[in-house]
Symmetry: C2
Subunit: 140 residues, 2 copies
DNA sequence: CTACGAATTCAAGTCAGCTTGAGGTCAAAC
DNA sequence: GTTTGACCTCAAGCTGACTTGAATTCGTAG
């Protein structure tokens, strides 16, 4: 079982050493051993880092990510919460698709102001709808 | 044309006055007038705020949002950039759906560690794949 | 016309997520 | 055995997105 030096983890993941140490401090990853002072990571750390990157992109805080995927292997959250978050994510994914459509649209729409454009308005309504009082977050 | 007091905007949008003033300072919104010192907003500010909320959820900075949807009505970015961002967003939306599946899965999967679970691994691969060297961001 | 309360400005503070720098340690190459 | 260079720790600094608080300004109700 090959162990990775912090620099190797950085090379393969793109995550700088300072961030890796920070993640460790926050309980998201851990080195399997030390050689002298130096951290030695197992290969699976790369997957955990993918997971962290994914979670961050989805807007989760490091703390939330740790609760869901942190070392321990098992989430520190009740099943129902996990399913709720999943539902939220799907909602968010649809909003993102709508936003993508809006960007494509404004790129080519001739209107002087995107808010004047019916198509744009409609996309915005769709994107903002259905999220009325959905869990995480709040009102807008 | 009815003008809105800052408190009304807050009431309808959920965005606190301090944040509204901050957005104005950053050029994302603007009041149509002042009554004395008090800002008077047009109703369309609510749509702009929806747009901001959407953009934030998608991980854009306020500056990026201003470039895309800021006052001026027209994006301050070349068409190609907008389409590129749209493509990125769709990618991200798919990643979010994958993450949702992962959450649903870990909620019920009996494995002691999610990384031991083949299904989970597969979902992670799918989510992390295809984004190898896609524009915005970098390596992981 | 005074008083109230909602809004204003401006400076400073907060939090997350890192980065940077100084000073120290240690494995491996020479 | 010493030097080198990668890594370490710890404290301080930075950016983005706001919030908070003090001191002030006004429109409106009485």
């Amino acid at each position: 079982m090959k162990l990775l030096d912090i620099a190797e983890v950085t090379a393969e993941s793109g995550v700088p050493p300072s961030a890796l140490r920070y993640y460790e401090e926050k309980g998201l990853i851990q080195a399997l051993a030390r050689r002298g002072l130096r951290r030695q990571y197992g290969p699976e750390v790369l997957q955990v880092l993918s997971l962290i990157a994914l979670g961050k992109r989805a807007g989760f805080s490091l703390e939330e990510i740790a609760q869901m995927f942190g070392p321990g292997g098992r989430p520190a959250l009740p099943r129902e919460d996990l399913h709720a978050r999943a539902e939220d994510l799907r909602q968010q994914a649809r909003q993102m698709d709508a936003l993508a459509q809006m960007l494509d649209h404004v790129a080519d729409c001739p209107a002087k102001d995107h808010l004047d454009c019916g198509k744009f308005q409609q996309l915005l309504r769709v994107a903002s709808k259905a999220r009325q009082r959905a869990a995480r977050g709040g009102q807008l």
